[in-house]
């Protein structure tokens, strides 16, 4: 820095004529992004709760020092869009809709396909079946899922009839609408299928054929009490096992490897002291995993009926094999959602209650960075970039 400054003073000392004119800039230059994105990039959904017709997804480098370092680009998503991304091809999917007069007029539902490098929409699939309109749910990543090696994209439809719509991404068209009983959530299951949790505390499973038609169905009879201790519909899926936290702090394992889901073990996130202090899981996105398969759950103290959305003050880390807590990570500010980056140096990225992002080392729990200045945005859900 000093060296630079001395050089600069030296230059100032020259006569002006000794300095060449700055070069003329070429117009029309547009940036592109490296593919795959580095491990430390995340995609953050700005839901724009007060301008829902024009939400967006921001591509951020969590190592950034200030906004010009961390902001890599953005792409739009209309009306609480749903988002998922392929890992085997450079495509990202935004399930959204538009009205031809902003918030009124004729509605067009569309799956927009973005290129990861250019952040341009490269294709769209029009979704015009009125009974298959997507559910607008603010914070569930499991309203949309890729299955069958990323060939089929499934999304949850709610009109309020309930369906899972099946899109064949190769054919770029809707090939099926699977009617659900009163259920929600799309958890990839077996070779080419999915499971959903249901309102009576049961779970249903479906396997599809190569045309997206249902070939097999399965069911787990009611196994939890929605009134007394509901399961969150937002599990962490580690390998083929879904870890579904309950409102009170239990974890229900569900094996998703077979043609139909099957019940695994149930265990508790809490010890006696935790129970005394009424620790509970909660938040907009409250469970995640990392490349080593640990289970992370966001927790708050003094839980009670209705506290399942409360911000979490800590993230607890569990070894799912031994079903023991291996770490407690206190958060600098309570958070409403988080995700964990992939790779050998995983990092926790939270959305805190000030709608800033915070970055923690997932191993040590150390606070690494705060990404703020989202003045007019709602950066609600964090997605690891791969």
């Amino acid at each position: 820095m000093l060296k630079q400054f001395l050089r600069f003073m030296l230059l100032l000392g020259m006569t002006q004529s000794a300095l060449a004119d700055l070069p003329i800039d070429k117009p029309g230059r547009i940036e592109t992004l490296p593919v795959p994105y580095p491990n430390d990039w995340v995609i953050v959904h700005d839901v724009a709760f007060d301008h829902m017709s024009v939400g967006r997804f921001m591509v951020l480098d969590i190592n950034g020092g200030d906004i010009k370092d961390f902001f890599k680009g953005s792409f739009n998503g209309g009306f609480i869009a749903a988002f998922t991304q392929a890992l085997k091809k450079p495509e990202m999917y935004v399930l959204e809709h538009y009205y031809d007069r902003g918030t009124r007029g004729n509605r067009t539902d569309v799956l927009t396909i973005y290129d990861r490098a250019t952040l341009e929409p490269v294709d769209e699939i029009i979704l015009d079946d009125p009974k298959l309109k997507r559910a607008e749910i603010l914070v569930s990543k499991f309203v949309i899922s890729l299955i069958d090696d990323e060939r089929f994209l499934l999304f949850y439809s709610f009109t309020p009839g309930t369906f899972v719509t099946v899109i064949d991404l190769e054919k770029r068209e809707v090939v099926n609408g699977v009617p659900l009983p009163t259920c929600a959530g799309i958890y990839p299951t077996g070779k080419r299928g999915f499971s959903s949790l249901c309102g009576n505390g049961s779970m249903v499973s479906f396997q599809l054929d190569e045309d997206g038609q249902v070939t097999e169905q399965g069911k787990i009879e009611p196994f939890f009490d929605v009134d007394r201790d509901a399961l969150f519909e937002r599990p962490a899926i580690i390998g083929d096992t879904g870890y579904f936290p309950s409102f009170s702090g239990a974890v229900q394992e569900i094996d998703l490897s077979g043609a139909a889901a099957s019940l695994g073990e149930q265990w508790s996130l809490l010890n006696d002291e935790d129970r005394e202090q009424n620790w509970r899981p909660g938040g907009a996105w409250l469970a995640a995993t990392d490349s080593t398969g640990r289970l992370y759950v966001m927790m708050h103290e003094n839980g009670e009926e209705g506290s399942h959305d409360y911000p979490g003050s800590e993230i607890w880390v569990f070894d799912p094999d031994s079903k023991t807590r291996v770490q407690r990570i206190p958060l600098t500010l309570p958070a409403i959602a988080f995700d964990i980056t992939m790779g050998d140096a995983p990092k926790i990225v939270t959305t805190n209650i000030e709608m800033s992002l915070e970055v923690y080392d997932a191993r040590s729990g150390e606070h690494l960075n705060t990404i703020a200045d989202f003045y007019h945005n709602w950066p609600l859900l964090v997605y690891a970039s791969q």
């Binding site: 709760f49 007060d50 301008h51 829902m52 017709s53 009306f79 609480i80 009205y99 902003g102 918030t103 009124r104 007029g105 509605r107 559910a135 607008e136 749910i137 603010l138 914070v139 569930s140 709610f158 009109t159 309020p160 309930t162 009163t182 259920c183 929600a184 959530g185 959903s196 949790l197 249901c198 309102g199 929605v226 009134d227 509901a230 399961l231 969150f232 519909e233 938040g283 907009a284 708050h300 003094n302 009670e304 009926e305 209705g306 506290s307 399942h308 959305d309 409360y310 911000p311 003050s313 500010l333 309570p334 409403i336 959602a337 209650i353 000030e354 709608m355 709602w378 609600l380």
Partner: protein, 172 residues
């Protein structure tokens, strides 16, 4: 709609960080612990009304977080948007498909079934965001889940604000 009760935090970082994280400011009302049922502004409606019959009580200010009927609300209060507790702002349309909560009226001690109806067709009102989740359940039981956009059956599904209507007294 859900989990968005932290907005005011963002604009009041100078407010003591030690205040309750559970209940968040709503409109100009204060932060009230979720369990409180003491009415702040007692209003004995029937006592001022002229019709005969036994009186009714409905304590509290509908434009606040802590008003008893808001026990499972999740969105902008229409009372702050040009509507009222039970009517939509001008130019919007009231959804006929709703989610349901059960809220205790601290004035008469009765549990009421409350229908939360979204008003739809204009961009978000933006005023008096409130989120309370007593009795709220996940999206796999839609009729008690406030995470959905319930602007359904309306010409436009664009969400503007939420009213709450009494459907009746809950049967214990």
């Amino acid at each position: 709609m859900n989990w968005l009760d932290n907005l005011t935090e963002k604009f009041s970082r100078n407010v003591a960080r030690t205040s309750s994280r559970r209940g968040f400011l709503c409109g100009l009302g204060g932060v009230i612990a979720g369990g409180s049922i003491m009415p702040l502004l007692p209003v004995a409606r029937a006592a001022d009304a002229e019709q005969p019959g036994p009186p009714t009580v409905d304590p509290g200010d509908p434009a606040t977080y802590e008003y008893w009927r808001n026990c499972a609300i999740d969105g902008y209060l229409c009372s702050c948007c040009g509507g009222t507790i039970n009517s939509c702002p001008p130019g919007t349309e009231m959804s006929t498909i709703t989610w349901i909560g059960t809220c205790k009226n601290p004035g008469d001690g009765k549990d009421y079934i409350i229908s939360y109806n979204d008003c739809c067709g204009k961009t978000s009102c933006g005023n008096c965001f409130c989120n309370r989740n007593e009795g709220d359940r996940p999206t796999y039981r839609p009729h008690t889940s406030n995470d959905y956009n319930w602007c359904l059956g309306t010409e436009s599904t664009a969400y503007h604000c939420t009213v709450n209507l009494i459907l009746g007294v809950a049967i214990k």
